[in-house]
Symmetry: C2
C-alpha cells in the first residue's frame, strides 16, 4: 500500500475488514463521527447511513465504543504503514523528510473524516482501547523522529520540529473541505517542500 | 490586553464577564468542555466544578449551548484582540510575522482548554451562534493574511502559508499538556522563529 501519484482514497484502507456489513458500518462510522463528533453521533445515525436498523448494527458491533476502536485502529495502522511505505528505498535525509511529510499530509487530506476521528477522539476511547492506539501512535512518532533526527544536533530542537511538522499534517483534518481545499497531492507536495525549507533554515 | 513578557493566564480573558457566578461558570465550562468535549459534558459537570447545583446553573445560563457560545465568543475575541495588540507599533514585515505568531502560539498554549473548545467545537454551535463566531474568525484570518501578504507575490502561496502557520498555533491546543510541554513563552518564541524561517525560504 503505497502513495505514489494517486492516493488510496479510502478503498484499501478498509481491506482489514471483510467486504460486507462490518466494513460498510466502519466506513459509515468514520463519516458520521467525523462530521459531528463521537458523542453527538448515535448508532442510529450510523445504521441509517447504510440503510440498516439500529438493532442490525449490534449484530456486527457490540457497541459504539467498539466501532470507534475499530476505525481508530484501522486509521492509525494505515498512517503508520503508508508512512513506512513512502520511505522505502529512500536514503537521502532530505528526500526522506519530503516523502514522509508528503505521505502524511495526503493521508490526512484524503481521509479527513477518519483523520478527525483518530486525532481528536482519543479521549473518547475506552482505557483498554486507548492503550492499543497509543502504542501505534508511539511507533508513528518514533518513525518521524528517526526521519528528522539526521538533521538535528540537539534533542530539544528535534522534538520541537517533529511536533511542528506533524502539526501541519494533522491540522489538515480540521480544516479540509473537499472541493474547496487544495487537491491532496498538491497540498502534500507543498507541505513537503515547506518542511524541507523549515529544516534547512 | 497585551502579551509582553508574561502571558495573561486566563485572568484578563474573562473580564468581559462580571466577577461572580456567571464568570466562574464560564471558566468551569472552558475547563470541562476542553477536557472531554462539549457533547460528553453535562451541565452537572460544570455546576459541580464550582460547587453549584445543576439547577443553580440555569439561573445564570439558559442552556449548555449558551455557555458554549459565551466562551467561544470570549475566546475568539481574545485571540483577535491579543493578535492586534501584539502588532501595535511594529512596522517591519518580518517583525510583524514574529509578533503575530508568538502571540497566537502563546495564547493557544496558555489557554489550551478554551482553545480546544473554540477550535474544535465550531460544529457544536447553534447556527445563529456560529454566524457570530464565524465573523470574528474571518477578522482574525484577515489580520493574519495582512501580516503575511507583504512576503508573497501570489495569492495561492499566501493562502497556503497563512493556513500552515496558523495550523502550528492551533494544533498546540490539541497536544499541550501543562508541566510536560514547553513553557508557553519558549514555545511562542520558537514557533515565531520557525515561521520567519519558513517565510524567508
Amino acid at each position: 500500500m503505497k502513495i505514489s501519484s494517486e492516493p488510496s482514497v479510502g478503498g484499501e484502507l478498509w481491506e482489514m475488514l471483510p467486504v460486507g456489513p462490518r466494513r460498510a458500518l466502519a466506513q459509515a462510522a468514520a463519516s458520521e463521527f467525523g462530521k459531528r463528533g463521537y458523542h453527538a453521533t448515535t448508532t442510529r445515525h450510523i445504521a441509517e447511513h447504510v440503510g440498516m436498523s439500529p438493532a442490525g448494527l449490534y449484530v456486527h458491533y457490540a457497541s459504539k465504543a467498539e466501532l470507534l476502536f475499530t476505525i481508530s485502529r484501522i486509521g492509525h495502522e494505515s498512517v503508520l504503514s503508508e508512512s513506512s511505505a513512502a520511505l522505502e528505498g529512500i536514503s537521502s535525509p532530505d528526500e526522506r523528510v519530503h516523502a514522509l511529510v508528503r505521505s502524511f499530509t495526503i493521508w490526512h487530506a484524503v481521509n479527513h473524516n477518519l483523520a478527525r476521528v483518530i486525532q481528536y477522539e482519543l479521549r473518547s476511547l475506552e482505557p483498554k482501547h486507548y492503550q492499543v492506539i497509543a502504542a501505534i501512535r508511539r511507533s508513528t512518532e518514533a518513525l518521524a523522529a528517526e526521519v528528522f533526527r539526521p538533521l538535528f544536533r540537539d534533542a530539544e530542537s528535534l522534538s520541537m520540529h517533529t511536533v511542528a511538522i506533524l502539526s501541519l499534517g494533522i491540522d489538515v483534518a480540521r480544516w479540509y473541505v473537499p472541493g474547496r481545499s487544495p487537491d491532496p497531492i498538491v497540498l502534500g507536495e507543498a507541505y513537503a517542500k515547506l518542511a524541507r525549507n523549515l529544516l534547512r533554515a
